[in-house]
């Protein structure tokens, strides 16, 4: 078949896909006879109310010297692991604020961390495209550092998120800028399954988040810069079980609803949404109108134990507590005293559901980054980040040497985080939108005052 014939076939197939998508959208629209809020109102549900002193910041965990990127609670004890741009993982006792471990990472550019189900080990991943496992009981080396007990190598892009498979310490799922998710066997250090990629049906841009179903650990969802979330069955890696459309921006975060039949999403389009996994129905959109025209992105979400509350962190420092049934904001933790000064980058609820921990960046140093066009992502990004470390955030200029090709750059593609839609971004730019560097060394724990 000639190239011309292939192009013709491509155009025809594209048209068919678009027609089918439109038919599917219309059919789904017909089935949306109400949303959760409409149904709850029809049932006369009362709103949840919080006073300003009902949910208070009880302590600030101070110790990181860079922005906090990620955090995770251990299931059975009150411990938290946090990952920071300072290149360390810190394990905290959330009750006493004491640090039990400060792990210096071989690669400082960490983006995500996770506690294992038994609390014996922690995992992290980042720009080195690796997921590193640390056994907290291992002896330290001569320099006092905890060694990596198992490096999981195989992603071809940064590792954006990781989560251990519940009830096991031997499997972990990672998402990556290489558009795939991987299920790993930690014992062997090998990939058990790869979800998505060039020859499979999967995400078509960076995958930013994963969440494993707490009711059925074979199922997980992923959120991506392609604006979709996808549901996967770990036994069938070749294709996603379902694709969830609706968002008009990167899906930065996904989290299963406590009943296991639904999941929530948070996006650059400023909305959180609730999707049904069996039907693909979008059951609710959670969106608060902002007066200034700037729509803050949702960075991280978590549900309370019953699912009645949805905590959502935003890039403008807001942290809304949504009443999921009535789709109303109950409280903005970002407006309370002792709250963060910058964007909320991560949050998570303790296993017993009584405490919330939030991590933050400082948005005061917002910069516009400049990047060049088509460059392979992995090597180039490391160069950019090293430039950032040495020089602050360095702007590429015409005449600079492209670290990939060694040739002078003749054209600069310039945009800012807020101006660029993900569909218009090169993979590198798409990613750089995610790593504007800010510093705010705070992790805050919120919990209820038990009367």
């Amino acid at each position: 078949m000639s190239v011309a014939e292939l192009k013709e076939r491509h155009a025809a197939a594209t048209e068919t896909v678009n027609n089918l998508r439109e038919r599917l959208r219309q059919r789904r629209q017909q089935l949306l006879d109400t949303d959760v809020a409409g149904y709850a109102r029809s049932q006369g549900r009362s709103p949840v109310t919080f006073g300003p002193t009902d949910l208070v910041c009880c302590r600030t965990l101070q110790g990181h010297t860079g922005k906090v990127y990620s955090l995770d609670w251990t299931p059975e004890r009150n411990r938290i692991v946090s990952a920071s741009q300072d290149g360390r993982l810190i394990v905290w006792n959330a009750l006493t604020s004491q640090k039990t471990h400060a792990i210096k990472l071989p690669c400082a550019w960490v983006m995500t961390c996770a506690f294992s189900p038994t609390g014996q080990s922690v995992a992290c991943g980042g720009l080195d495209s690796m997921c590193s496992i640390f056994n907290l009981n291992s002896p330290t080396d001569r320099d006092g550092n905890l060694p990596v007990s198992k490096p999981l190598s195989g992603h071809k892009g940064y590792v954006s998120c990781c989560q251990y498979v519940p009830d096991e310490d031997i499997h972990i799922i990672t998402s990556s800028g290489d558009q795939t998710c991987i299920l790993w066997d930690i014992t062997t250090g090998l990939r058990t399954s790869v979800f998505g990629g060039e020859f499979q049906s999967g995400h078509t841009a960076d995958v930013l988040s994963v969440s494993i179903n707490g009711q059925n650990s074979r199922m997980f969802v992923s959120g991506s810069c392609d604006g979709t979330a996808r549901l996967w069955d770990t036994r069938v890696a070749s294709r996603a079980v379902r694709t969830f459309h609706g968002h008009e921006g990167d899906v930065n975060t996904v989290k299963f609803f406590p009943d296991g039949n639904r999941f929530g999403t948070g996006s650059d389009d400023g909305t959180c949404r609730l999707f049904d996994i069996r039907t693909g129905h979008q059951l609710q959109v959670y969106y608060q109108q902002h007066g200034d025209g700037e729509v803050p992105h949702v960075t991280s979400i978590a549900f309370s134990t019953s699912g009645r509350l949805l905590f959502a962190g935003y890039t403008n420092g807001d942290c809304y507590v949504w009443d999921t049934l009535l789709a109303r904001v109950v409280l903005n933790l970002g407006s309370l005293q002792n709250s963060h000064e910058g964007r909320i980058s991560c949050l998570g609820l303790s296993a017993d559901g009584s405490a919330l921990c939030t991590g933050s960046w400082d948005t005061n140093l917002k910069r516009v980054l400049t990047l060049m066009g088509k460059v392979k992502i992995s090597e180039f990004l490391l160069n950019i980040v090293l430039d950032m470390a040495d020089l602050g955030i360095r702007r590429a200029q015409e005449g600079d040497l492209n670290p990939k090709t060694g040739k002078a750059i003749s054209h600069i593609h310039e945009s800012s985080q807020s101006q660029v839609h993900p569909s218009q971004c090169s993979p590198a730019l798409c990613y750089i939108r995610k790593i504007l560097l800010y510093f705010n060394p705070k992790v805050v724990v919120w919990e209820t005052i038990m009367l």
Partner: protein, 82 residues
Amino acid sequence: MGDSSESSFGAPPVSPRSPPGSLDFYGKRTQMVKVQALEREIGLLQDELKSVDGFQPASAYCKEVDDFVGATQDPLVIMYMP
């Protein structure tokens, strides 16, 4: 000997070249992969269209959410319900 050495240094450096047509070949392969991905997606979308016809309206699933939330204890909610 010296002359031949000099002449070999003076010659323009030989750079490896791709065989003719290799770029087209690569473009063709990329195009083929794209077409195959689209055709796979057509199959998936057709399957999904068929399955959507069997789904109940959203209200059935909204009821499930409402029932679950109402039946599950929540340390962050229980104290504050009016």
